[in-house]
């Protein structure tokens, strides 16, 4: 069975990370998988060693490829750009994977629902969101994301250790990921004893955000304790999370909505304690004070309290580290996850 996964951006995001894991593991289930990207935003490093299996090109070139290469199934990941061209009996069945939490118009979802065989979503939370949008016109299946092996290697002490605990925030620096809330949380923490260092790991799509970030961090007296790693290669994220863990710190999400919460799952895989808003999909794998800390969504005070409590309690940190990693190994390992993806794809093919 030959499957082509299509995604609009080749960047350093979570989707690329999922695709990499699929490219590596689906062949063991008899599925020949390839990826197609519409735009190269500097994410080739994610596919280091798998370069032959990825391609970047326009929608027109993609459609030519789909027709000529004999794919059995095309899976579009949040890439509605291909839908207008996806007409004709000679085309393979189409699956739409809704990973993006960035929205889209209701009308587009209705049209999409008529064109696709199935919609895959990575969490129950996202299934309810998408199910409501497609209005029952297509089957919605939960297919969780997979965590790459480089996040699942043994957790060891590393010699390098930041001097102060680190509170890390990973993601695209935009409104949706709500970087401003992170700065507000940080501004509360700098007023408390023993504040952590604040690491922002990611880059903005809109270049104007750089100035906004600088000014907001400066105005809220966070700039002095801020370390910004602009566009860190995805390959280096496990090492980064190891440093955060070894510092006695944590990873936090302030995202307004997530389909899965990949950066948080990856942090848990590296035994790095996590602090997340009490909302889906996080509540599907983070149990408060058992596998992470939950805070009231949108509340800087609640989040800052959670951070303060965690950083002051090494025993709690150790407990959350272990339990968080166990959850990921059990539910999101490549073996478990790929088997499920393969099963769902095979079911559609058959």
């Amino acid at each position: 069975m030959k499957t082509l996964f299509v995604y609009k951006y080749l960047s350093l995001g979570g989707v690329e990370s999922v695709l990499r894991t699929r490219l590596r593991h689906l062949p063991t289930f008899g599925i020949d998988a390839r990826c197609w990207f519409l735009q190269d935003l500097g994410g080739r490093s994610v596919f280091h060693g798998l370069d032959d299996l990825i391609q970047v090109g326009t929608v027109g070139e993609l459609m030519e490829c789909v027709r000529s290469e004999g794919f059995d199934l095309v899976t579009s990941i949040d890439t509605e750009e291909i839908l207008p061209c996806y007409t004709g009996d000679d085309l393979p069945r189409l699956v739409f994977e809704a990973h993006s939490a960035y929205g889209g118009t209701l009308e587009n979802w209705r049209i999409l629902g008529r064109k696709v065989t199935a919609v895959f979503v990575p969490s129950k939370h996202h299934a309810s969101v998408i199910g409501a949008l497609v209005g029952g016109q297509a089957t919605v299946r939960v297919v969780p994301n997979l965590v790459g092996n480089r996040f699942l290697g043994p957790v060891k002490k590393c010699e390098a250790r930041p001097p102060d605990p680190v509170l890390a925030w990973l993601g695209r620096i935009d409104e949706h990921k709500n970087w401003k809330l992170f700065i507000e949380i940080a501004s509360l923490l700098v007023q408390r004893p023993n504040p952590p260092e604040f690491w922002i790991v990611g880059g903005p799509v809109d270049p104007n955000v750089v100035g906004e970030l600088f000014e907001k961090a400066r105005r809220q007296h966070v700039l002095s304790r801020l370390r910004w790693l602009n566009r860190l290669s995805h390959q280096r994220i496990p090492a980064l999370l190891d440093l955060v863990r070894e510092s006695g710190g944590a990873t936090i999400s302030t995202s307004k909505a997530e389909s899965f919460g990949m950066t948080i799952v990856e942090a848990m895989a590296r035994a790095c304690p996590v602090i997340v808003p009490r909302q889906g999909p996080f509540t599907e794998f983070v149990e408060d004070r058992k596998t992470g800390i939950l805070y009231t969504p949108g509340s800087d005070v609640s989040a800052a309290d959670g951070v303060t409590e965690l950083l002051a309690d090494p025993a709690l940190q150790a407990r959350l580290s272990r339990a968080g990693r166990d959850v990921v190994l059990e539910r999101f390992s490549p073996e478990a996850g790929t088997a499920l993806v393969a099963k769902e794809l095979a079911a559609l093919f058959n």
Binding site: V210, S224, N230, R231, R236
Partner: protein, 500 residues
């Protein structure tokens, strides 16, 4: 105050010396080298100008005009009138547009806080040089130096000295220099030495291009002043695995307080201090200050000596006093203690005080006749002049600005075997016995007298101290921190995958 004609010429150049001056007779090797360097630079500029698209278009345009509108015809006269009007309009618009492009100079702080925007095509050209440097380098180490000054051999600033030393070791250097206007470009006349010169605003506008360079090397980026426009570039270099370093040369906050360095932002300096992998400072005073900004363990890497500065090329005899005192360097009104000098000269009329340098209108200082101003002097001539002195001085005001300084001239005085008396500044590390620090007029005069009487004492120690504190030693110190993973370099190496 007397202006001396003993030196014969009013030379042009910088603080610690200047370019070769016109001389009669055969040129010395160094002068010849300097003149040839200037000629080469001008030749490169001329070549770039001659081959620019604009010149080629203008040439083609005038060919067509002369062909279709021959001189002396009525058509040509109408054309000339129209062109004159358009030219005036264009000139007025250009002047208006330029007002928005003046940027703040890190040294003086003049102009606006914004870095200038840049035309893309010249950026590409400049960044193309970076790629060429990358291709030609065989070194396992690559470097970026972000400097508030230009790369000028005749001024001998610390960034220039570090660049020279790295270049001598065949380490490619991308030298980011400050410019006031976007149209100002330095010629790439040092590529053969492995040095590319790129305006800082071009570097900060293209952080990813810069960060992706020399990917297979150990890479160091040295920030020599805390300009807020470095925010994104530094973050990008950090993520790309560059070992980022902050070399604290001065107390920038004090410069800001006295009306210079208007761009200074304490929050950003705190950010820089904490987000680089290692911090260096020129003396202990700055170390304390930088610790207060959040650096846990800054390392003192003092200034140094460029060997050869003490060489007398042709002796020059100057009138001597019963005690002959001298100073060379920048005569900044911000830190030079003019009152102390004036009162000292009045109190000891049989002494002579020589001043070599620039920076103020010395005539306006109301100095007595026994203060002799020699103006700017070529750095290579300093040793010949200083050979007439009994004591060298650094009379700076006692304030934070001076406390944070480690004057390069101290090392140069010691290399020239001169006893040194200072006010305001401290002796370099390990030179307390060789540098007398005075406070107030009486103490200063007493120190000068003692230094004069003991002129020959510590001669050996002075020279050996200077010899052991060269710029080469300083670069060794910096590179050792990188190699041994001290401060936060180990973290960076772990993050970039070069250490487990």
């Amino acid at each position: 105050m007397k202006k001396s004609d003993d030196t014969g010429e009013g030379l042009s150049g910088g603080d610690e010396g200047t370019r070769g001056a016109p001389e009669s007779g055969p040129l010395s090797e160094e002068t010849l080298e300097g003149v040839l360097g200037e000629r080469d630079a001008l030749r490169v500029q001329l070549f770039q100008l001659d081959h620019s698209l604009a010149i080629r278009l203008v040439r083609g345009y005038w060919g067509l005009v002369n062909r279709w509108l021959p001189k002396g015809t009525g058509r040509r006269r109408v054309y000339d009138r129209l062109r004159g009007g358009v030219w005036k309009l264009g000139w007025a618009m250009r002047r208006w547009g330029r007002q928005g492009h003046i940027a703040a100079c890190p040294e003086t702080g003049e102009g606006s806080r914004e870095a200038p925007s840049v035309p893309r095509s010249r950026d590409d050209l400049s960044l193309g040089v970076l790629r060429r440097l990358e291709q030609e380098s065989r070194s396992e180490l690559a470097s970026i130096i972000l400097s508030g000054t230009e790369l000028r051999e005749d001024e001998g600033q610390r960034p220039t000295q570090i660049v020279r030393e790295l270049s001598r070791r065949h380490v490619p250097v991308v030298f980011g220099y400050w410019r006031w206007e976007t149209g100002y470009w330095l010629p790439q006349n040092r590529l053969s030495e492995g040095i590319a010169q790129i305006p800082l605003d071009v570097m900060t506008s293209h952080p990813r291009v810069i960060a992706d360079a020399f990917a297979d090397c150990t890479r160091i980026a040295l920030f020599t002043f805390p300009h807020p426009s470095f925010f994104e570039l530094q973050a990008t270099l950090n993520a790309a695995g560059w070992v980022t370093l902050y070399d604290v040369l001065d107390d920038w906050e004090e410069f800001h307080r006295v009306g210079q360095a208007v761009w200074y932002d304490r929050e950003f300096e705190e950010h820089l201090v904490r987000s680089v992998d290692a911090v260096f400072v020129v003396n202990e005073c700055l170390a304390d200050r930088i610790k207060s900004l959040g650096a846990s363990d800054p390392m003192v890497v003092a200034n140094g000596l460029r060997p050869g500065i003490d060489r007398i090329r042709s002796p020059r005899l100057l009138p001597r006093g019963s005690v002959t005192v001298g100073y060379f360097g920048y005569l900044s009104p911000a830190w030079f203690d003019w009152d102390l000098l004036r009162e000292s000269a009045l109190a000891r009329p049989d002494w002579i005080f020589y001043l070599v340098g620039y920076g103020v209108d010395v005539d306006a200082m109301g100095l007595p006749e026994n203060v002799v101003f020699l103006g700017k002097v070529d750095q290579r001539e300093l040793a010949a002049i200083a050979a007439n002195w009994d004591v060298a001085i650094i009379p700076f005001k006692s304030d934070k600005l001076a406390e944070g300084a480690d004057p390069i001239k101290t090392y140069e005085y010691l290399a020239m075997d001169l006893p040194v008396v200072v006010t305001g500044v401290n002796a370099p590390p390990g030179a307390d016995a060789l540098v007398d620090r005075a406070t107030g007029l009486e103490d200063f005069l007493g120190s000068l007298e003692r230094a004069h009487q003991g002129r020959k004492d510590f001669s050996e120690q002075r020279r050996s101290y200077a010899a052991a504190n060269t710029w080469s030693d300083r670069v060794d110190q910096i590179l050792e921190v990188v190699e041994e993973g001290r401060q936060r370099v180990r973290e960076k190496r772990f993050l970039s995958g070069s250490v487990g």
